[in-house]
Subunit: 169 residues, 2 copies
């Protein structure tokens, strides 16, 4: 049983949250939704998923969780305009605890300057940003580099979830 | 009288298109909307602006225009997943003709690997990406570096439009 922080804001890619979240819960893991404002309801791009933020990122610490999950869509771009969200994600990756990043999620880790020399994948629009951040971009459905698990897009979700679950206890 | 290519897709930041577009037309300049598909109607993030694409970027050449305008929002992120759009924007900047970029617009130029050693500004979420691309990020309402005019956000639009109009004949 792990306690997973899910960092998210409006305009997340609906299925990139809902499908991994369902799989994590089925295995008995607990999700805590971390965002810019406790109690705020955030909505997916496709408006098929709504999530209540359990905890403000300002009050959250990687020490309180076993893993971090960053759904994609435009949510990571919103989050990375806020220093506390950037710092939280960066510290999480540095802590050595598992970080699950899909689609646009690496944007948050780029702003945290946490991707140098890491192997990572992500949505095709951010490939050059990943390379410019000093990371090695790998064009595969899932890339596992130490504690960092990354995938490109919704069709990669089954492989993403399998690799993520292997990192959880 | 200049002929300005406006490259855009869905989810552009409405006012970052409408207000400069109105100012350019008032001065007698012609706008040609270039996008992924000729005839497609693209819609702004706030759904207050809709634009019909006049010309596919596949058929467009910088030689046909006097300047390029790239509105912000999520449109640049959509466009940069398409090689033809990336190539068009990159060639435009290299051509020496004026390029007007606001908010997230530098994303398209980053993917074109066209920003190295340029002075540029943009929306705060992409500051690290701009720096990682080898550009100098300048936190001002408008930054003019040779043929590249850039601004950060909607509140910068008056300064952005003034600087852009100075580049047009």
């Amino acid at each position: 049983m792990s306690k997973i922080a899910v960092i998210m804001d409006d305009m997340f890619e609906d299925v990139e949250y809902t499908r991994p979240a369902e799989a994590f819960r089925e295995k008995g893991h607990q999700l805590v939704h971390v965002g810019l404002e406790k109690g705020k309801e955030v909505t997916g791009k496709k408006k098929t998923a709504r999530v209540r933020i359990d905890e403000s990122v300002t009050d959250a610490s990687p020490a309180d969780f076993d893993a971090l999950f960053i759904p994609g869509g435009h949510s990571p771009d919103n989050l990375r305009a806020h220093d506390e969200a950037v710092s939280f994600a960066g510290k999480f990756l540095e802590s050595g605890k598992p970080v699950f990043a899909i689609c646009h999620a690496p944007q948050l880790l780029i702003t945290a300057r946490a991707l140098k020399n890491r192997k990572v994948t992500g949505w095709k629009s951010i490939v050059q940003d990943i390379k410019n951040a000093g990371a090695e971009f790998v064009d595969k459905e899932v890339v596992v580099d130490g504690n960092l698990v990354s995938s490109r897009q919704p069709s990669d979700i089954p492989a993403f979830v399998r690799a993520a679950l292997e990192k959880l206890q």
